[in-house]
């Protein structure tokens, strides 16, 4: 199982990659997609919506269940991955790449400090 070192993680199994432009890319982890099973639908928010850290931004629906998606950071949604509409399986195939879900212009990049490191997140998943 992949736990890329350059990412930050939330307890709700989302990952965050902060770019130089202050825009954070957000998706769900390899562990999360594996637990959910085949993803059949991803509901994303509207561009322009403001999210607070911990707020739900959408829903991932798999063949066995449906889960809320929580924003790990606060800010404005500047882009959503429209490819997921027709190809939700991208989340399974490439959770840290083409399966990304939303991009958020962060209000405060320091917020990342409260998220988990790769190592801590990996530990969390092993606790079961």
């Amino acid at each position: 199982m992949d736990f890329p070192k350059d990412l930050k993680y939330s307890k709700e199994h989302e990952w965050v990659r902060l770019g130089d432009d202050g825009v954070a890319v957000i998706g769900i982890t390899a562990f999360a997609q594996d637990e959910l099973g085949d993803i059949v639908f991803v509901e994303t928010p509207k561009v322009g919506q403001n999210l607070k850290a911990g707020q739900t931004f959408g829903v991932a629906e798999s063949v066995k269940t449906v889960s809320d998606l929580y924003s790990p950071v606060s800010g404005e949604v500047v882009e959503v991955n429209t490819n997921l509409l027709d190809s939700p399986e991208l989340v399974n195939e490439s959770p840290f790449g083409d399966g990304w879900m939303i991009k958020i212009k962060m209000d405060d990049p320091a917020e990342l400090g409260s998220l988990l490191s790769s190592q801590d997140y990996q530990k969390l998943t092993q606790k079961g």
Partner: protein
């Protein structure tokens, strides 16, 4: 599928399995003081003949006008239901108190519901319909709530030409949800004024509701209203209280409605005590995942044969819990089946012919009514099988006289629109012959002198 209640043996086995000694033990948490410790105070059993006699005596207390003397529509329309409908739905596979949705045992039930969905979508001009709701008004309430969920907005514009009871039900459903229902007064025109509707809408408006034919029986200009809502970005909810009109008129979806609801009782239903009713609910495909209710889908089984199963269930309460699109986790399966059978018996041509017969009967009635001195049409608007007519005297009195003579007409619109006292609704459908209509008109004419 037969629904077989618990037998005493089953009960014993169930109790033994969970380790309880009696059913009473399951209620041990309820304090003694809160329990009813005597038998229900109801009369004892009667011999069959006495029982029949009891019910006949009770039934005789009702005013039963019979279909051909009933000229009240106002949301519940009298139609001829082919006898084959009741015969078929009486089959025990359909006639159960519990609808089995499990695909492994219920292909017949699911196929019937799928047919109903297909007819609903076609009639309303929409892309996808659900397995039905309890009735038209609650379907409208669900549509309003759905529109707010989809748009993230909290205002809904509703003309006062939407059936007053439907508006009440919407109010009941939404009053604690932080949704503002904005009543748009349009009654004096008899139809919606698209410009006034547009003026009532803003960036907070989730949807505008338009009933067509409206409560006065008039056909609304859905296409103009669809244009009028564009600027605000509000959704258009089409409501149909008399779907028989769709034998002649396009469904609201053809004019751009996003969500459509209808009261389906006109197909396969009866007017007994106002029920049972049948809610029809359809949306455009892009909104399918936001829709309330059950949905039957068609697929292929492992042998490549057609098969039916519930689909998109993740919207529903048993999976989404508090975030479900609705509390409804059932449908009006028996009435939906009746509607599907009735519509299939009519067929496309039969539906059109029946609708034409409604149009002819109601326009003949209107012509005869306005020939009575002092009686005039309340509006000059296109109507299907119902219209508003103003009487030159106390309408309440004449409606009472008609009822005493075994004829049901009305209601008096003054009940909801105080300025329209002495204006009544009248409805005529395919069940009314020229003779029936002439008899009604003669009685009203006698009452006006």
């Amino acid at each position: 599928m037969r629904y077989i209640p618990l037998s005493p043996q089953d009960k014993e086995k169930a109790l033994a399995t969970i380790g309880a000694s009696s059913v009473d033990q399951l209620f041990a948490d309820i304090p003694e003081a809160a329990r009813m410790n005597h038998p229900l105070q109801i009369p004892g059993p009667l011999p069959e003949m006495d029982l029949m006699d009891w019910f006949e005596t009770a039934a005789e207390k009702n005013t039963h006008a019979g279909p051909r003397k009933t000229f009240i529509g106002a949301g519940a329309y009298v139609h001829h239901v082919p006898v084959a409908v009741d015969h078929l739905i009486s089959r025990t596979e359909f006639f159960t108190c519990y609808t089995p949705y499990q695909p492994e045992v219920s292909q017949g039930t699911l196929a019937a519901i799928y047919e109903f969905q297909t007819y609903t979508a076609a009639l309303l001009g929409m892309e996808v319909a659900n397995a039905s709701m309890y009735d038209g008004p609650s379907a409208l309430a669900e549509a309003v709530i759905m529109a707010c969920r989809v748009t993230g907005r909290d205002k809904v514009v509703m003309p006062d030409l939407v059936h007053p009871h439907w508006r009440q039900v919407v109010q009941t459903y939404t009053q604690h949800l932080g949704i503002d229902i904005i009543l748009a007064p349009m009654a004096s025109d008899g139809v919606c004024d698209p410009e006034k509707l547009a003026a009532a809408m803003d960036q907070r408006t989730a949807a505008v509701v338009v009933q067509s034919p409206n409560f006065f029986g008039h056909v609304e200009d859905m296409a103009a209203i669809n244009k009028a809502r564009e600027e605000s970005g509000a959704l258009l909810i089409g409501a149909v209280a008399e779907p028989m009109a769709l034998g002649l008129l396009q469904g609201p979806g053809a004019s751009g409605a996003d969500i459509c609801v209808a009261e389906g009782r006109s197909f396969g239903g009866s007017l007994g005590f106002g029920g049972p009713a049948l809610g029809m609910f359809a949306v455009q495909n892009s909104l399918a995942r936001k829709m309330p209710g059950r949905l039957v889908g068609k697929t292929k089984d492992t042998k490549g044969q057609d098969g039916y199963t519930l689909t998109l269930s993740t919207r529903e309460q048993h999976i989404r819990r508090e975030k479900a699109t609705s509390n409804i986790c059932s449908n009006q399966a028996l009435m939906a089946t009746a509607a599907a059978i009735h519509i299939s018996l009519l067929g496309q041509n039969g539906l059109r012919e029946t609708a034409l017969a409604n149009l002819a009967a109601s326009h003949y009635l209107a012509e005869k009514m306005t020939a009575i001195p002092g009686v005039k049409m309340a509006f000059d608007q296109p109507f299907f099988n119902e219209f508003a007519v103003t009487l030159p005297m106390d309408a309440q009195r004449i409606l009472g006289d008609l009822a005493s003579a075994g004829y049901l007409a009305g209601p008096n619109l003054g009940r909801w629109y105080p300025e329209m006292n002495n204006t009544i609704l009248l409805c005529a459908t395919e069940v009314h012959s020229k003779k029936n209509i002439d008899a009604l008109v003669a009685m009203i004419a006698k009452g006006t002198v």
